[in-house]
């Protein structure tokens, strides 16, 4: 019996490093390309999940599957608001919306050969307005990505305090029920 208990405890201990069970979708825009991944909060990525991208009017524009890391990437033809839905195939569905503003001012497929409005720097290297904007967009997107990822991961995390709070709530309800039933008995 003790061996069985130990085995049961081992199973539970094995289960604890991963917390929570909820599908989430992380998506961001880098240089006009939508990329991201689908993940279960606290327990790994959703690989082979169906991802569907719809435009602002809700019309589906692209369907694909997430790869072995749960990741995907797609370059939209034009910057606009896109709505991403991922379906893990077992009743887990999650959505994310990428607003038009996330694509920045630079259209996704501009060529950088516009030297008409070039500004010269001190060294004499010329950079067009569009090139500067694009470089800034790329740098900011690169710096923001870990932050956005950390935020998405933290948002759904189950904290020990919350779990203890929930258990306390259930104990409180039980106490309330006992009190109520005793009071009823006292009256009758």
């Amino acid at each position: 019996m003790r061996r069985k208990l130990v085995a049961l405890l081992a199973c539970l201990a094995f289960a604890t490093p991963a917390a929570a069970h909820r599908l989430k979708l992380f998506a961001t825009v880098e240089d006009g390309t939508i990329s991201g991944y689908a993940f279960f909060v606290g327990s790994g990525r959703a690989h082979g999940a169906a991802l569907s991208i719809a435009d602002a009017t809700g019309k589906p524009v692209q369907d694909m599957l997430t790869d072995a890391q749960g990741a995907f990437s797609w370059k939209p033809p034009a910057p606009q608001t896109y709505r991403l839905t991922v379906n893990a195939g077992d009743g887990h569905v999650s959505e994310a919306t990428l607003e038009r503003s996330r694509f920045g001012g630079v259209p996704a497929n501009t060529t950088s050969e516009e030297s008409d409005d070039a500004t010269s720097t001190q060294e004499g290297v010329t950079l067009s307005q569009a090139q500067i904007e694009r470089a800034v967009e790329a740098a900011v997107a690169r710096q923001m990505r870990p932050l956005l990822e950390a935020y998405e991961a933290a948002e759904g995390r189950t904290r020990f305090n919350d779990i203890m709070g929930g258990i306390g709530m259930i104990i409180g309800l039980a106490g309330l029920a006992l009190w109520g039933s005793n009071r009823k008995k006292g009256v009758s």
Partner: protein, 207 residues
């Protein structure tokens, strides 16, 4: 898995699940005696905490459901227990959703209630070893029924969110095995240490 989020199911399924769950919770509450309240609360807490922990399995991730175990110990009182735990999970962690609460309660608690009510008299009479075997099988069967109910809820709603058979088989079969083991261990432990917990509820109510 069994926590279906908001915005996936159609209105008739949501309303049907909600009405069914409300009725079942009311019946369950009516049948709880004073002596059973702590028992219901303990199992509700256990379900609340344990079903938050998931492990990656294949392309998805799974967590314990404990439907069979709760059904054996609680009978119809499983409905209020699951309702409270799922409500807290939805409000505190965003697992499942408030609109789908009824459907989720039915999906998890109904198989447990039916299978548990049928198995409880058998387990009460059996030796600890046999009790463990029955409880293990009951737990695994409850998981399979929950999977079936989830599949039905989604299939009845719309074709957009159909279940992938590949994912279902890859995730539910390991879960059935683990649930069977957990259910078997727990019941055999209770049977040795505190067998009166598994005695039929009627006799307790009559005392």
């Amino acid at each position: 898995m069994a926590h279906i989020p908001d915005g996936v199911l159609s209105l008739p399924v949501l309303v049907g699940g909600g009405v069914l769950a409300a009725g079942a919770v009311a019946v369950g509450l009516k049948r709880i005696t004073d002596l059973e309240i702590p028992r219901v609360a303990i199992l509700a807490s256990g379900f609340f905490a344990l079903s938050l922990f998931a492990v990656p399995v294949g392309p998805s991730s799974v967590h314990l459901l404990l439907g069979g175990l709760m059904g054996i110990v609680l009978g119809p009182a499983i409905f209020p227990a699951v309702f409270v735990a799922l409500l807290l999970q939805a409000v505190m962690f965003g697992f499942g959703g408030l609109t789908t609460l009824g459907v989720n309660v039915v999906n998890i608690a109904l198989p447990g209630a039916v299978i548990g009510t049928l198995c409880a008299p058998l387990i009460a009479r059996a030796t600890p070893k046999r009790a463990a075997l029955i409880a293990g099988l009951a737990s695994a069967l409850a998981v399979a029924c929950t999977g079936l109910l989830v599949a039905c809820s989604l299939a009845l709603s719309s074709a957009d969110y159909t279940l992938s058979a590949r994912v279902m088989i890859a995730t539910y079969i390991p879960l059935m095995i683990v649930e069977g083991l957990v259910g078997g261990f727990c019941i055999s432990f209770v049977k040795r240490v505190k067998p009166e917990l598994l005695a039929p509820l009627q006799s307790e109510a009559a005392q």
